[in-house]
């Protein structure tokens, strides 16, 4: 068949995980499969570590637990807590490298990779790992000091992006306006969901603080977990209020912003 086995990795806060996060995987899988070139064999949710320093970030153990509850019934997406257990924040590229190494170093058996046994059989191509993200992710490349230029290069050159957005050309524009992204446009897959479907975790947390219902926006099991542990309150939203986002602190003086348009 010659399809390339593909694993999709999503990095993020997952604070908390929502139905929309899980939709990204579904949409991406359909799209990549329909290109005729890929066979999506797995998905990985990789919650960021607590040292990321984002405002209102709930403890990693909870975010991992909620993601596991949410993906309990999924046949192909799993949660990996490696990134969340690292002592310091991990650059996206480092996380990708770790997971690719794990993917390549393993024997393609169903037990190891939690995938259908047949998925890697009959394929002479080595598996690939691509980063799954939303359209706003592409715009973060332009934030001064947030990304190292060489990392962006490695991200889109060596790995590749699967970017899910509405059909509003925001992602297209971001690729067009960056020479680096443009150069690797064949490794950037733009997936469109033509209807608006934006359930942001920020709004979910706000609703939870105010005692409003979020049922049907995230799995019931996750909502129950949030209530049991009283995770999202006014106090919890104050966490990291005055902290500097770790990537900005770590990388010191802002490097050249990717404003090479």
């Amino acid at each position: 068949m010659g399809r390339i086995p593909l694993v999709l990795l999503a990095c993020g806060s997952f604070n908390p995980i929502t139905n929309q996060h899980m939709r990204l995987f579904e949409l991406a899988r359909d799209h990549m499969h329909h290109t005729g070139r890929f066979q999506v064999v797995g998905g990985i949710v990789s919650p960021v570590s607590d040292s990321y320093g984002k405002r209102g970030l709930a403890p990693a153990q909870h975010r991992v637990a909620m993601a596991r509850l949410a993906l309990h019934g999924s046949g192909w997406v799993t949660v990996d807590d490696w990134e969340s257990r690292q002592p310091d924040w991990t650059e996206t590229v480092v996380t990708l490298r770790h997971h690719l190494q794990k993917l390549l170093g393993q024997q393609p058996s169903a037990a190891d990779l939690q995938m259908p046994h047949s998925s890697l059989e009959g394929s002479s191509e080595p598996p690939q790992l691509k980063l799954l993200c939303g359209a706003d992710f592409l715009d973060t490349f332009r934030v001064p000091g947030l990304w190292r230029a060489e990392h962006v290069e490695e991200l889109v050159g060596r790995f590749g992006l699967v970017c899910v957005s509405r059909g509003d050309l925001q992602a297209d524009r971001a690729v067009h306006e960056s020479d680096t992204l443009f150069r690797h446009r064949h490794n950037i897959f733009l997936v469109r969901e033509w209807v608006r479907n934006e359930t942001s975790a920020t709004e979910i947390r706000r609703a939870l603080r105010r005692g409003l219902s979020v049922k049907y926006l995230l799995p019931d099991a996750v909502i129950d977990y949030v209530r049991e542990h009283q995770l999202y309150t006014w106090q919890s939203e104050q966490r990291n209020k005055d902290a500097v986002l770790r990537p900005l602190g770590q990388q010191g003086a802002p490097s050249e912003p990717l404003n090479d348009s």
Partner: protein, 331 residues
Amino acid sequence: MELGSKLRTRVLKLRSFRRHMAIAVHKSFETVRLNFTRAVLASMSRNHPIPSGRTMSRKRPVGSAKRTRTARSFEQPKKTKVVLLACGSFNPITNMHLRMFELARDHLEDTGQYEVVQGILSPVGDGYEKKGLIEASHRGEMAKLAAESSSWIGVDTWESRQANWLETVKVLRHHRQELLSREPDTDVVGTAKAGRKRKRMDASSATKRRKLEEGPPQRSDEPRLMLLCGADMLDSFGVPGLWKPEDIEEIVSSYGLVCITRGGSDPEAFIQGSDLLWPHRHNIHVVREWVANDVSATHIRRALRRGHSVRYLLPDPVLGYIQERGLYTTE
């Protein structure tokens, strides 16, 4: 028969023991009830997450983020009870349909004037003859599967079982009749969900007792039936010939409308521009959907036709039902 003295002593001791046990058990029930009441009173302050009456019931409502219902009924006993009725194709039912109920409930209860006690999904009958409308039996089943995890939303298939299509106002009239003729001590939420009757808490059993003592329920005590809809339905009031003006009048005056906005509509402007609706504007509640979401059943049917995933857009049991029967695979 004469009891030997030893046996008699034993029997007397047993009786005394049982009486003491009965008193102890009664006391412990009283303590439990007292502690619960204290807990509710203590948690009436909004800062305390409250174990609502629902958490004490046998079937814990899944995913309900609301916590102040019991407390509020202590604070302001004179709230209007509301039952929300949603008519539609539900072809198929989606998470967004269910969201409408949640949003409507939050909105109404936030005013402090209402207590939403029940939600009813009423799938339209096959006589509606809309393109792509699958059998009512399927649509009703899927709606039931979707509402399974809700403690207050249920499905009523009366409308779907009628031979001909019914105007919305007739469905409203039918359901209002049902509510009025309901027995005073019937569990309000239980009708559509056989076998899942929740135990009423002490507060509401007190209400029930009071109702029984006072005789047949007063009209003002009865829940108010309101039509739950999307902004597109409100906009459809403006389509010439689609609605009878007297029907619109009846809906917004005798019942009430709870209208959930969608992107691209402006219900307030529409009401402002309608001489028919404007006098009843206080009976038309416009609810802003704060999650930008235009996912519709049409979108889902299209995706299914094309073999695309619709997971997480509708409840898993509904998706399973569709996949098992191969529904929506063709036009």
